[in-house]
Symmetry: C2
């Protein structure tokens, strides 16, 4: 067993460094790096993350040999620090902290002052000549150890402390004297014994062993698991343990402790920014017991009257040293740093440095500034902003200054901020909108019938359903704010109100929704467009915005890097306009069914559905075509010659009729249509489907009722002709949904092409157009070469493709999907981030075989994954031409696409190929740790995801090859 488990740092030397983050965790790697840079770091050592992995793979046992290695490293620390662990005369005390690859704040609280016992305490007293200080350390240590290592309830200790203070008649901890602290320590030890069943361990080595075990155990505690889940950190990463010599900021007035950011983490401004406290230990700064002081004038907060003394003024030498160090660290790491320091008897010690967390605004500004400062290149800057974070900069938001009365919390289904009057039906929403009212549509859950109402509403609130519910999906598609699954609200249809506990919210009462937080507020919270949107809309001058200039520069770099085009999913001229402002280069998915739900039109749609003959159907369709043509004309106009992909009618026809049991609505519809309710009811029954997802929809409608396809094609082409006649440009791309066989494609294409030719002849004008298909049925991907013989483009409908590839109904998966994610059956929700191994393999197969048949085949994605950064990166890797997403996600997709291109280029430069699967997303697969002796069941599982192996031979997975095969421009017909 030649493996090394422990890495030393200190005294200007280090066995590890920043490049070893995976092995040593972020904290350990950076401590090593700082030591290497010659910075004053208290000596210590790091136990690797591999030990953590071993620990979990071997029934929570530490590997043999670890103990020996720890002892030899401790000896080295002792030598550097001039003290000895457990020595009664000259004791070395240490801190024990976890440190994972990624920062996981608060995952495990640190154990400080480890190594104290009755004997070493005496050494401390002798060294510091401060009995009170020593007993204070000791009681703190017993408390922390009990709480963190033994998980004894914190409150027990707090209560004892309060009792003691009452007994002795003091208010503050600091007022307790040495004797009293000694008593407190004894009391704490009793609490320990009562709970653990044995005495508090006095052997420092035993203390250390228990603390290390506790750090590893903390990795699987609920709060750590939850944090990992939210932040997509795989369980198998594990945590490292850092054992570090203690230094003290609380040994007197020449001592201090503080934290600082090298730039402002909220705005990104270049100013050194931090807080400190004299004569204090680290946690005092953040705990809020004492008001922390600004380290310099620039760090004063608004409420600060200027009286709080700064470090700069109080300890100018140390401050100067700190400035030297932070400047060096920022130059070294080429990024804004979040640092922790302690001053012990006038000597500055660096306890930590890491890349600082920041807001989206700060991220963009810092990235741009660092380029200007020539610390990084624009390519690196592009990688410095998390695409998902960009969202914050774009969506409308509640005025941060406003007061809010939160009444319920649901799921943050679709971001944004919405304010409006409560209505309970879609029709009502439409009606109110027509009157110029802003409404929030509140429903138990939504169905396709509600789409017009959703469109009319400012936001949607549902009591049921998760992030993949109908409400959530449609709202995101519309870029509309939505809070769903707010289980606390009870809708009372009879009394036209909903209740949350005692609160009754009536129809027409105002509420506000925060779609990013999933919160519901009573009343009208003031909403503002984000600055960037205000500037884009021309409602604010660029120079009046602190961030717009940075955003613009940054996005310019983004666009320079990216290869993938970014389109938008938009069904209306308004959405199209917004998307263009956000940089959309076309429409990747224009759904026509939403247009069908409009109140003026649905009557004709229903008449069409109830038709018995082709002639009747044609007559009804004849009433709709004018509306559709106007829709398309408006969208073409907004898109100004950019390509517009229009999907033909997709949903099953029963979605346009009332529900089977809804007698009232059936009667109403029957009356409108002038038929008996029985006729409507019978039609509803005849259209009933057991599995509508797999039913009579998509091109199956257009094949059985070719006149629907013909009407839609005609509307599209007449609108195109009108644009051309007006001297405009237009590029319609007609998309056949749900194709599974080439014969379907052939059938629908024939109708579309014939209609195009007719319209061109009638209107005496030519326009370019393409005919292609969604690839959303697994079979389509499997026979892509056949289909590509007819289809001029593919657009992966990854929502349905994911449903069918997994056999998951998005509407029903709520019954098991959360359980699956929680229990690691799935690494994440495949409807949110593309399943690269399964669905992705189908995509790469289809791209490859489709381009075998038609080298200039245009390939895109229009499922919701088109706006998910990890999925966008995958799309880049399989050689798609574009991704398409909702308007507000366009900048996010642009950024993700740019990052994919940069990462690919960098990997190529390193001689490593970016693998198709798994590269975009942190892999859920736990690698086998070499130290494991027994092969576990997992070992038998092949390492590489299926995609990498089974994927069509070489080319498809790799961007450059696929690109070469597909000259982009050739596809468009002239």
């Amino acid at each position: 067993m030649a493996q090394k488990f422990v890495y030393f740092f200190g005294d200007g030397k280090s066995e590890g460094g920043a490049e070893m983050k995976n092995l040593l965790g972020g904290k350990g790697a950076n401590l090593g790096e700082m030591a290497r840079l010659g910075l004053p770091v208290p000596a210590g050592f790091t136990i690797t993350t591999e030990v953590c992995t071993y620990y979990y793979q071997h029934g929570r046992k530490l590997p043999p040999g670890l103990d020996k290695e720890i002892r030899s490293h401790m000896a080295r620390v002792e030598k550097v620090m001039g003290a000895k662990f457990g020595d009664p005369k000259n004791p070395l005390l240490v801190s024990v902290r976890s440190g994972a690859r990624a920062s996981m704040p608060g995952m495990m609280e640190t154990v400080l002052n480890l190594g104290l016992n009755e004997q070493t305490l005496q050494g401390i007293i002798a060294k510091t000549k401060n009995e009170r200080f020593a007993w204070d350390l000791y009681r703190r240590f017993v408390h922390m150890f009990s709480k963190v290592v033994m998980e004894i309830e914190d409150e027990l200790f707090g209560r004892r402390l309060d009792e003691l203070k009452k007994e002795v008649g003091v208010k503050l901890d600091t007022e307790l004297n040495a004797e009293q602290l000694k008593q407190l320590t004894a009391d704490y030890m009793k609490i320990y014994k009562d709970h653990v069943g044995s005495a508090f361990p006095s052997d420092p080595w035993k203390q250390l062993e228990l603390a290390i075990g506790a750090v590893f155990q903390s990795w699987n505690k609920k709060k750590a698991v939850d944090y990992r889940k939210i932040n997509n950190i795989p369980e198998w990463w594990g945590t490292a343990v850092n054992v570090c010599s203690m230094v003290y900021g609380n040994m007197g007035d020449d001592c201090a402790t503080g934290v600082a950011f090298t730039r402002d983490p909220a705005t990104g401004e270049k100013r050194f920014f931090g807080e400190w406290l004299k004569n204090a230990q680290g946690e005092d700064v953040v705990a809020g017991i004492r008001t922390p002081q600004p380290i310099n004038e620039e760090s004063r907060s608004h409420g600060d009257d200027g009286s709080l003394p700064t470090l700069e003024k109080e300890m100018p030498k140390c401050y100067k040293e700190l400035v030297r160090i932070y400047t060096l660290l920022e130059r070294h790491y080429k990024d804004m740093q979040d640092i922790e320091f302690t001053i012990q008897n006038g000597k500055l010690w660096m306890l930590q440095t890491r890349n600082g967390k920041r807001t989206a605004t700060a991220a963009v500004r810092i990235a741009v500034d660092l380029v200007k400062e020539k610390l990084i290149t624009p390519s690196t800057a592009v990688k410095r902003v998390d695409p998902d974070q960009l969202d914050q900069l774009l969506h409308p938001m509640f005025d941060p200054k406003a007061k809010k009365n939160r009444i319920a919390k649901g799921i943050n289904a679709s971001p944004g901020a919405a304010v409006g009057k409560v209505v309970f039906t879609a029709d009502h929403a439409v009606e109110m909108k027509a009157k110029g009212e802003k409404v929030i549509l509140v429903r138990l859950e939504t169905s396709p019938e509600d789409v017009a109402g959703m469109h009319a509403a400012q936001g949607i609130l549902t009591a049921r359903g998760g992030k993949t519910s109908h409400a959530a999906v449609v709202a995101r598609g519309m870029g509309k704010c939505c809070v769903c699954g707010a289980g606390e609200i009870h809708i009372d249809d009879k009394n036209a109100c909903f209740t949350v506990g005692d609160i009754v919210v009536k129809e027409y009462d105002y509420i506000s929704l925060d779609g990013s937080k999933g919160e519901v507020y009573l009343g009208q919270v003031p909403v503002i467009d984000s600055e960037i949107v205000q500037v884009l809309r021309g409602q604010m001058k660029p120079k009046d915005s602190a961030i717009f200039g940075y955003y613009e520069t940054f996005m310019k770099w983004v666009d320079a890097e990216r290869v993938l085009k970014v389109r938008t999913n938009a069904d209306t001229p308004e959405d199209s306009r917004m998307a263009v402002l956000f940089g959309a280069e076309g429409i990747g998915l224009c759904r026509t069914e939403h247009m069908f739900f409009d109140t003026q039109r649905i009557l004709h749609v229903r008449r069409m559905i109830l038709s018995d003959t082709v002639a009747q159907r044609r007559e009804a369709l004849g009433k709709i075509i004018g509306y559709q043509r106007d829709d398309f004309y408006g969208i073409f106009k907004e898109m100004g010659g950019r390509p517009v992909t229009i999907r033909l009618l997709d949903p099953p026809l029963h979605e346009f009729l009332p529900h089977e049991g809804d007698r009232e609505k059936i009667a109403e519809v029957a009356k409108e249509l002038g038929v008996s309710p029985d006729v409507v009811a019978k039609k509803i029954v005849s259209l009933h489907e057991f599995n509508p997802m797999l039913g009579h929809r998509g091109c199956r409608l257009g094949i059985v009722y070719p006149e629907i396809t013909e009407m839609q094609a005609r509307a599209i082409f007449e609108a195109a002709a009108k644009i051309k006649k007006e001297g405009g440009k237009v590029q319609p791309e007609v998309m056949v949904p749900l194709t599974g066989t080439v014969e379907e494609m052939r059938n629908q294409k024939a109708i579309i092409v014939e209609t195009a030719q007719k319209v061109m002849a009638e209107q005496k004008v030519k326009f370019p157009y393409l005919v292609g298909t969604m690839i959303e049925v697994p079979r389509a991907a499997l026979v892509a070469n056949e289909i590509a013989a007819e289809a001029e483009f593919f657009s992966f409908g990854t929502n349905d493709l994911t449903q069918m590839t997994f056999g998951f109904s998005r509407d029903d998966a709520g019954k098991f999907l959360p359980f699956y994610v929680e229990n690691k059956i799935l690494p994440g929700d495949p409807f949110q981030s593309l399943d690269t191994a399964g669905v992705g393999l189908l995509m790469s197969m289809a791209v490859k075989s489709g381009r075998d048949a038609r080298p200039d085949l245009k390939c895109g994605i229009c499922g919701e994954h088109g706006g998910d950064p990890a999925s966008v990166k995958f799309c880049h890797s399989v050689g798609l031409d574009y991704v398409s997403c909702s308007p507000y996600r366009v900048p996010i997709a642009r950024l993700a696409a740019a990052q994919a291109a940069v990462e690919e280029r960098e990997a190529a430069a390193k001689g490593k190929a970016v693998t198709t699967a798994g590269s975009a997303k942190k892999s859920a697969r736990r690698p086998t740790v070499p130290v494991a002796k027994k092969a576990t069941a997992k070992k038998a599982a092949p390492k590489k995801a299926a995609a990498a192996k089974a994927a069509p031979k070489k080319a498809a997975a790799k961007k450059p090859a696929a690109k070469k095969a597909a000259p982009k421009k050739a596809a468009a017909k002239k």
Copy 2:
């Protein structure tokens, strides 16, 4: 254009022959072959099927150059026959007939006597010296030409003939004299002119051109299209046209005509068997106007009193010649022949020979006899019986002699014959069964709730639903007779009866169902087991059966050829027993949910579903385990050590509860469970799914409720332990349903393995077992290598795999699937015969990548395709280890598997690989005909099915390679 369109035959010479069937059609090829053999064939020529294809690809135009070729071939015919087409003195008359690759009886009626007009008629009169005969030919020609070529209503001619007979006061056509026939001819010509608008064409060449065009057009007439659809004949095959010199059996008493089979087509007995008529034309024999006479004593039918004169006696020389020829033909073709002959003035002419159609009994017997006669080898014999036809020999049948009163016709969903009392609910069926009554369950449609009732019933009749409806699928799975979609019946629940027109059938009235014909009879039609089943069951001695010995010999050869194993889908000991008699080598799918529906158990199942806690659920499951263990024990016992694959619970839980709206049933269930109806209703609502097919079912149940998996595994292993303790053999294979990710498999396998170990320890006995999975979700096939790391076997659930790969819900596809098949969007119903290009590609990928990860991975199929011959052949080609099908289809699958092996071996010997896709099924793809000048849109489509190309590199598709990689025996645990 060097292509040859026309092929000559006659005078012992021929340009074509039997090997050119695809080009010349069956009739033309065989006429050529007979000519080559030196048999007396009237000279003629064949216009190829390629001309037909050209005709349809070029807007119904004949290729240039054809006319010239026809004329030069006609000249050769004229020379041989010593007469000239259109010559007034010595005219040659011809027949024009269609002739496709496969015999398509009645597709187009022949045009005889073509070449007649006022002038050539005189030549006939002069040659035959028989004016009446000549006019009779002429009027027949005008009639046939009008009817066949111009599609003038037959009745018009019949009516005119009747009128004329009345006018002249005769009863028979033969009583009309020459003058009257002349008048009739003139009248016919008037009818022609009235309908066509121009005079009857007198130019023989014009007649010929029109007749040839008509033959080609007949290829796409409804009756031809229908016939093709039923018999799976692709449209692009086209038909040939045979132009043949006329010979006459009606020129006097030394003339005759007849048809014969070289062996008995009903029984297969080796006896020359035929009918003839003196002085008659061919159609007289079949038209039934004159009673045909036996050609020999052996051909006399039962009703024949021996007075009808035989050809053998009347024309012994010709008969002897005929015997010589038929013997020669049978030896030459090595198969039973169906021949047509005409004797003109004492000279025998052979008009046709072809392999004769025969019953299943005859097919088996003839195949076996031909081997005994050393004409063919057993391998060839195996290919001689259509697997589907074998069905006839196995299913119970109505006594053919019984009288029947048919009251309705539905869809022949599941073959068999059933008689019983009508009941209208599943519960009622179960109740009656318990009383020993035989019942027919009559339902509007069935749902999973009805399964217990279906099992209890003799047969199922539904008013709604097609071949893929729930009733049909489940009934076929059970091997139970089912007629579904009998739209004429109206179920009147209130009055407990159903009506068909005026007929009222009450509860408890007897009806009989013929599942093979889809017919419903009033009363009890006597049912008998097929002879083979009677013998297999030991109810008849083998020697008392005319066919059993042949069947046994034949199936021995079948088993000697086949490589694929054949298992059965069986859920009960009875089904298992029957399947073993039919040769099943194991159970490939034992569904456990049917066991759950049993009345005694469903209460506990419902209690389990309503449980709120794991403890409650365990308690309810504890009530079920005993039943399940007994079920498995019974099945293991019957299977005597053969492998038994048991699928864990698959359907969504709501299937075990009443329907949402069924208040009555909900109240009943609530009462049984001792809870309020509201509790049951709420649970039903909470379990509701929009797309149950893609919902919370399969292993998703076992993962969320691991105690269900544990209970089922325990029941299986306890039953296995019991068998072992009794000294028996057992091989359980536990199958996880609906797996989509390896984590699911790992999760379920862990529970199963742990349970197995516990049971072995408790019972102190070891038994072998495997744990594997269904591959029925597309993703499972895509990540098969990952899953195979855990799964020890794969069983392709091609029902669900087809649903998800196509995105077709089997329950809903009735809305468009028939339209798709009718309109050639799909070549056939993919639920009946496997879609090799799409679903098949997933299968071949999965087999390959699964065996990459686990070389001894056992692969089988348990979808309904396992009993479809074409699909079985595909399964052979991708290297599966076994197919599994319902008991009655086991012999069919055995035969199909044997044929696949023979075909593969023969193809290999010829140096041709059997391609993976499309080989099993006639391809639906129309090849481009080389004579086509313009490339059609279809040309762009790549020729080979996707499977062949995209399929994992080499091995998977080819049996031998895959086999080598998978040593069979290794898989079983010891």
